[in-house]
Symmetry: C2
Subunit: 166 residues, 2 copies
DNA sequence: CGAAAGTTCCAATTATAAATGAAAGTAAGT
DNA sequence: ACTTACTTTCATTTATAATTGGAACTTTCG
């Protein structure tokens, strides 16, 4: 397999992987493209290489910056903006984890916290409280786990745990 | 907040949470409904309580069974099928983790394994190999971690780790 | 200031994913 | 073997999410 084809496959796969996890396919593809580029790209590069419109490229680049996965980079003698991805995969993992924890896990934990004290003595009410309580416990633990592992750096955590468990 | 409203909120939230993570909203809602029901429900119950069609209800119930999150349950003297959810939230987490690992993580690891040896000495090629190699390392470790934690039971793992890190 | 280069926004369109419901399929009871 | 109760399938429709492209906005520099 030559480089061109391999790059294509990687971009495609990262896009598919992302969209299976609720990440906009194009956002994931732009991310993939920047990850494997050895120098910063501008909006037009992204548009050309992925065949997407300016608006789309721009929107997803901004989103990636928002996620701390990409940063603006200026080139000397150039006026326009360039973009480069964070290349440290452990940092990438940390940023993604933090962001998703904040956007999706934390709101769920907050809701479960409220729901577990709904009144009632019927089997339905008991069953409901049991489940929300258990889920609250699980999600809180997961939240704590992710919180600490992303503070200390996932690298430390995953390496330690995966070695330990081998 | 009364039970009816709380149930509604929970089903809604679980659906939203699921769809943010690439799970069909209705599938997540059916799961939520079964999680908080104190007794098995039949297809019609699901149809009524969630306002979905027979086909939809059936399709998502089957998918949930496929994920080992729901099982068929017969009621004495009843001919039709009933469904009940796995109520142990740690088992639920284990099943979801295993399933997603199998469906999405493993294929990615396999691809990265192939991609990290594309030929070429250009900066582009080197950059590509470095990234695929690093990602391969990360995803493999994550895979190992999830594998072991779901074998021993996530309960053990998350409890131990989240306590340890507190 | 005014033109040029670049960036962002957003209403309208298009693509993708999910839901419907009627029809076909299965199986249990008589 | 036939009827009835129930389940599954799938072509079509509908809802949701993503994309486009032009207009508006901002910045840079002679």
């Amino acid at each position: 397999m030559d480089l061109k084809e391999a790059r294509e496959q990687f971009i495609q796969a990262w896009g598919t992987f992302g969209s299976a996890w609720g990440i906009n396919r194009t956002m994931a593809q732009v991310h993939a493209l920047l990850l494997i580029s050895h120098e910063p790209l501008c909006t037009e590069d992204v548009m050309e290489q992925l065949n997407v419109s300016r608006g789309n490229a721009n929107m997803n680049l901004r989103a990636l910056i928002d996620w701390s996965l990409v940063r603006r980079a200026m080139k000397v003698g150039e006026r326009k903006e360039f973009f480069e991805a964070e290349k440290d995969v452990w940092k990438v993992a940390t940023h993604i984890t933090r962001e998703r924890k904040k956007r999706e896990l934390e709101p769920l934990v907050r809701l479960l916290d409220q729901l577990e004290d709904v009144p009632g003595a019927t089997p339905e009410a008991k069953s409901f409280r049991k489940m929300t309580h258990d889920l609250h416990d699980l999600t809180t633990r997961l939240d704590t786990l992710l919180d600490h592992s992303t503070r200390r750096d996932v690298q430390w955590f995953v390496k330690a745990a995966s070695t330990l468990l081998k």
